[in-house]
């Protein structure tokens, strides 16, 4: 029984691991911390898995646990660097796809997102993942109206960081 559970969990996570990697991208600045956070999210997902009933999609359920781990449960290891060296990050998508100006703009955007606080990062992450305000509000535990208000504030904040 336990083996079956392990197998179904690992298979599910292997297929949906991108979600976890993306959360790690938003919340960490270097590969070591990325792996550290990935490890902790995996453990938290596994701990919660026996209660996963399959009435929600595995991926939807993952967003919650992954974000909760990143925001609340995870203890940042001392290794993590506060100021990220963005050129060395894997954030850059292959350079040939964009012209210089767009690439520059994207770099600034990622740097701006990194300056947001934990909660704002979560909102931006869910927004980038195309989640509805209903889903965002349920994941964060706030009302839909407040999710919208806060998202607008985050947008304004980003704008301010980009054009000081």
């Amino acid at each position: 029984m336990n083996k079956d559970l392990e197998h179904s969990f690992v298979t599910n996570l292997e297929q949906n691991q991108n979600i976890v990697h993306k959360v790690c991208r938003i919340y960490t600045n270097d590969p070591d911390s990325h792996n550290d956070l990935f490890q902790e999210i995996t453990i938290q997902l596994w701990k919660a898995y026996p209660k996963f009933r399959g009435d929600a999609k595995f991926s939807t359920w993952m967003y919650r646990v992954a974000l909760n781990t990143a925001i609340t449960l995870y203890r940042r290891s001392k290794r993590s660097i506060k100021t990220a060296d963005f050129d060395s990050m894997n954030f850059k998508i292959k350079a040939e796809e964009y012209d210089d100006e767009v690439e520059q703009q994207l770099k600034l955007m990622y740097a701006a997102v990194k300056q947001l606080n934990d909660i704002e990062k979560a909102l931006v992450f869910l927004y980038l993942e195309d989640k509805s305000y209903k889903e965002i509000s349920e994941t964060m535990g706030i009302s839909e109206v407040n999710a919208r208000v806060k998202m607008n504030r985050v947008k304004t904040k980003l704008k301010k960081i980009l054009n000081p």
């Binding site: 993306k22 994207l106 980038l128 535990g141």
Partner: protein, 207 residues
């Protein structure tokens, strides 16, 4: 906002460059132990319960309470045992129930609330103990000073006034409790400052 839309487009393209872990990698991960803050909160809270319980036990074994009982304070020892253990059990049960409620599958806000609630139970227990120590010491000293001849005999011989004894007791007590409280605030602050900030940030939305 144009930039955010641009970012969204780029965000979706990153799937190809994300790291990819194998089945075996992930399997290895679930065998490892968590190092989450909830685990640390649990460990530190249990240590606090043990610390206060052992202070009590050490006092009993060393016969300190017997000294007090001998000082004509009727029933002090037995009542204090019953009260302190009932209260210890009450706080431990509450702590355990709150701890059990912490689920990573709750919404961000509920999860934070439950962790803070768990931590608060321990905090209340520590505050209870500090006030208990303060109150019993003060009332004992007062009792001994005014209702027995314990001090009056001594003080007349050594020339120390009863009030001086009380004042010194209160000052020493205040300093000792202040130090414990400060130390405690430090532990509490280190453990939960990030959590509290994030919770406040979420609360701010509800204004």
């Amino acid at each position: 906002m144009d930039e955010l839309e641009l970012l969204k487009k780029d965000w979706k393209k990153q799937e190809g460059v994300l790291p990819r872990l194998s089945y075996k990698d992930i399997y290895q991960m679930i065998l490892k132990k968590s190092s989450s803050m909830v685990k640390w909160i649990f460990i530190i809270s249990v240590l606090e319960f043990l610390l206060w319980a052992s202070i009590d036990i050490i006092f009993r074994l060393s016969g300190k309470y017997d000294d007090l009982a001998g000082l004509e304070v009727p029933g002090f020892s037995i009542i204090s045992i019953i009260i302190s253990y009932c209260i210890l059990i009450y706080f431990m049960v509450r702590f355990y129930l709150n701890y059990k409620r912490i689920q990573a599958t709750d919404s961000a806000k509920v999860l934070m609330q439950n962790i803070l609630k768990t931590r608060r139970t321990v905090k209340h227990y520590v505050w209870f103990n500090l006030s208990y120590v303060a109150l019993t010491t003060i009332s004992l000293v007062t009792y001994l000073a005014f209702f027995t001849d314990q001090f009056s005999n001594q003080s007349s011989e050594e020339g120390v006034s009863v009030f001086l004894v009380i004042v010194i007791t209160i000052v020493v007590l205040a300093i000792a409790l202040g130090l414990v409280a400060l130390f405690y605030r430090l532990i509490y602050g280190i453990l939960t400052s990030r959590l509290k900030n994030n919770y406040k940030e979420l609360e701010k939305l509800e204004e």
